[in-house]
Structure formats: structure tokens, C-alpha cells
């Protein structure tokens, strides 16, 4: 099967030489690989975008998970932001609150769009709906944001991993943050090369992040990691737009993430056995939710 790009180097080179957006190359590749029409592909992504909007809306009204571990933080953040005294800026807290909203809905078994996974589904929409207020994109530009993020995610998924069980949280929220950083840069008018710099800067700061969910649930610390993923994406995008570059090329950062994931012990790859899951409070919470037998195995 013919692909337009297999790594970030090829993606950026093609976008630069043909003077095309990264999102455009992702759409063209999708048409080539699946033989579907542009209209059909755009329509499907539009539907994904609608699901993301609905999830944020639901989360900002306040939800609670069955376990009781998560829910309600998006509302706290949004109310705090509206008071207008945020230290890190309204746009950043807006992104954080919407990332949290999405993941709280996910934890409550609501409907979400995996980007690239369910556990990391808050970062891309959270940042999108926050920069939306600043950049005033058209609906098509918002859909394109998801294709830009998807192009980078496509490279990571094929050359490394987007599974927490295989590569830790760096593969999930790490990938999501870096994908979002690249998408923000394109929407802000940055070059394809700057998208790749933003991706690399973001991913470098997520390397080594383990997957250690309390009671094995996609709640603690996942929801708050989505918050930090969104913040990381915005700062990385700003750095790239300022002209800061990554000394280590994007593809090598992705490869480093993959190799770190492979050497991560199984207890820190979504088994709920190590890290925060193995703390006294983590174990006590697991026992409260599933009973003593469950925790004995942990």
C-alpha cells in the first residue's frame, strides 16, 4: 500500500516542497489509502468534532464517575477562570478545564472520541476549543486541526505506540499533547517545520511518564494528566512559534519514546500495580471500590 509519509521528516519535507498544510496531506493520504471521497472523509471528522463538543459541554455541567474518584473539577476550573484572576492566563485554564471535562465524561462512561486513546481524549479537544476563542477558526479549520493532530499521531502509532499498556502514559497523554502542540501551530499560521518542532518539544517533556492508574481505572491520575497535557501543548506551541527549535529531531524523539516504553516495567504499564496505584492511598481506594480480594493481587 502506498503512503505519502511514514515519518515526520517525510511529512514536513512533502508539506514544504508542495507548499501544503500538514492537515491537507493527511486528508490526501486518507483518500489514497481508503479510496474514500474527500467529502466523505471530512464528514466523518466533522462528526468526531461534534462528539468532542458534546463531551466538553456535558463535562462543564458536571459529571461523576461510578467509582466516585473523579468528576466536578472541570466545573471548578471553569468557574475559577470566569472570575478572571487566573495566574497562568484564561486561555490556558480554559484548555485545561475542557480537557478535564472530556476526561471526566470518559471516566463516567460517557461518549467521547478517542484522540488518540480514550484515556488521553481530553488534550486535543481541550486545546482546540480554547484556541478557538482566540483564533476564530472556521468549521473547516477546526476539522483540519484534527487532521494535523492525526497526521502526527499516525506516525507515532506506526513507529512507536499509542498504548499505555505497551508504552506507558508517555505513549498516550504524551502523544496527545505533542499532537495538539503541532495542530495549534498549524492553526496559528506556523510552518510545517514549526509544527514538527512543537511536537518534538512537547513529547520530550512527556518522556518517561508511566501509566499507573489507581484501581486500574482511567481516572486517577489520568484526568489531571490530560490537564497538564493541554498546558504542555500550548506552551510547546508558543515556544515553536517563537522560533525555538528542538536539538533532537522529531522522529528521534518518537523513537526514544518507543524505546523507553519497551524498557518500562510491566507494573508501570497500565496494570494498576505500581506507581500511584501502589501508594497506601491508591491501594485503599482500590480496596474501597473493588474489595480486599482485588487489592491482594496488586
Amino acid at each position: 500500500m502506498k503512503f505519502l509519509f511514514r515519518n515526520v521528516k517525510e511529512l514536513v519535507a512533502l508539506a514544504t516542497s508542495e507548499n501544503k498544510l500538514i492537515s491537507e496531506l493527511m486528508i490526501e493520504q486518507e483518500m489514497l489509502v481508503t479510496r474514500r471521497s474527500r467529502e466523505d472523509i471530512m464528514k466523518q471528522m466533522d462528526r468526531n468534532l461534534t462528539v468532542m463538543e458534546e463531551a466538553v459541554e456535558k463535562g462543564l455541567k458536571g459529571v461523576q464517575s461510578t467509582s466516585g474518584l473523579t468528576g466536578g473539577d472541570a466545573v471548578l476550573l471553569h468557574n475559577y477562570m470566569k472570575k478572571g484572576n487566573t495566574l497562568s492566563g484564561a486561555l490556558l485554564i480554559d484548555a485545561v478545564s475542557k480537557a478535564v471535562a472530556t476526561n471526566e465524561v470518559n471516566a463516567a462512561m460517557g461518549t467521547i472520541c478517542a484522540t488518540p486513546t480514550a484515556g488521553s481524549a481530553g488534550v486535543v479537544p481541550g486545546t482546540l476549543f480554547a484556541v478557538q476563542n482566540k483564533l476564530n477558526p472556521t468549521r473547516e479549520e477546526m476539522i483540519r486541526y484534527l487532521f494535523t493532530a492525526g497526521a502526527f499521531g499516525f506516525v507515532v502509532a506506526n513507529n512507536a505506540s499509542i498504548s499505555g499498556a505497551a508504552g506507558g502514559c508517555q505513549a498516550e497523554v504524551g502523544s496527545a499533547a505533542a499532537m495538539a502542540a503541532a495542530a495549534i501551530v498549524e492553526m496559528s499560521g506556523g510552518t510545517p517545520q514549526q509544527c514538527s518542532e512543537a511536537f518534538a518539544i512537547s513529547m520530550k517533556n512527556m518522556l518517561g511518564l508511566v501509566c499507573d492508574p489507581v484501581a486500574g481505572l482511567v481516572e486517577v491520575p489520568c484526568v489531571k494528566r490530560n490537564a497538564m497535557g493541554a498546558a504542555n501543548a500550548l506552551v510547546s506551541a508558543d515556544m515553536a512559534l517563537a522560533g525555538v527549535t528542538s536539538r533532537i529531531p522529531c522522529d528521534e524523539v518518537i523513537d526514544a519514546m518507543y524505546k523507553i516504553g519497551q524498557t518500562m516495567p510491566s507494573s508501570l504499564r497500565e496494570t494498576g500495580q505500581g506507581g500511584l496505584a501502589a501508594t497506601p492511598t491508591g491501594r485503599a481506594l482500590a480496596e474501597r471500590i473493588f474489595g480486599a480480594d482485588f487489592v491482594k493481587g496488586v
Binding site: T111, T117, A118, E270, G272
Partner: protein
Amino acid sequence: MKFKSVFDIIGPIMIGPSSSHTAGAARIGLVTRELFGRQPKWAKIYLYGSFAETYKGHGTDIAIIGGLLGFDTFDERIKTSFELAKDANLSFEFIPETGHTEHPNTARLVIGDESGEMELIGISIGGGKIEISELNGFPLRLSGNHSAILVVHEDKSGSIAKVATCLAEQNINIGHMEVSRKEQGKMALMVIEVDEPIEDYVLKQIALLPYINQVTKISD
């Protein structure tokens, strides 16, 4: 390239909380049902690795049962699949295993009813995407993302060519194909991923070819 579509990355639309453990699990159940060709009456589900450790919290169990009942990743009925299974006359058992598997999110499903049994190994490789790595003891690699046909046939010369010719005559392009057998000259399995939708009459034509024992279709 394991991931071919952008919608493997941005998507699927799904019920939370985990793309690997909930959406991927539902898809394993759904593909199993499609390969079986009907809803099974009973199911024994063996879980390995992270599936075994965390299936309760992620709703892996209700998602697999939901899939066996025919629910897709975004179907709200997944949440109540255990109760719905009772109504649908499907009995099931989950068995967490401690053995190691190549991929951490692996499930082995043994299902059946009064007229047959089937065994399948499914792995959830991330972002809701799955692969079927074994069917009734035959190793294979099937993504569940394309229309595919599975042909159980006798390991005789010409049997593969006849099936390929039959598809070519219908202008159906083969995107990926694998053939495996347990023993030379005995039973073999063809897995053919195709780019075009397959009509039932094509399956019937294939079933009539010599050395062909069984033909099943799975849609994307």
C-alpha cells in the same frame, strides 16, 4: 504500517473509559460474533496481561459481552450488556489468566451454541484498534477494519487460485491475504481482506468451488 487510517488515531467514537480496554474489547467481541455468524449461546473468555489485571475497572467484561451481542463501540447498551445477555440467552464466564502473552491486552474467546464452537484470540493494540491473532488454532493477522472473507479449505493445489479468480471476476481487489495450515495436505485457512464490499452471492460461488469447506464474511 499497522495503523492505516487517520480515524484509527482520531476516533473511534466510543463509550469510555478506555480505548484499549473498552472500545478494543467491544470490537473483539463484535468481530468474534461476525466470524461465528450468529450470536453464541455461551462464552468462556480468558483474559491476559493488563486485560486480566484491570478488566473490572475498565468495563472490559461488559464491552466484550456487548460486542458478542452485536453492539459497536459507541452503543450505550454496552453499559447494561450483562443484563441484556440474560435476555438474549447468552451465558458467559470470565477467567483472568496469569500467563504471559506477546501483547499485554489479549483475550481468548471460546464460544459456541448447539450447532458449533469457535475459538479466537484477539489483541487490543491501542486506540481502539484490534487484531485477531488466532482462529480455531490457525495463526492469522486480521485488523477488523476492512471487509474480509475467511475460507476454510483443504490444503490442495489450485484451491487458492480458484478463490482469487472468483474474486477477480467480480472486480473485487484483494488488499491483504494470508494462508495458513496446521499440517501439509490437511485443513487450511485463507484470510482475504478486500477493498470492495462482498455480496452474499459471491460467497456462495466460493463455497461451491472444489476443496472449500466453509466461507465467512466479516464487514468493516
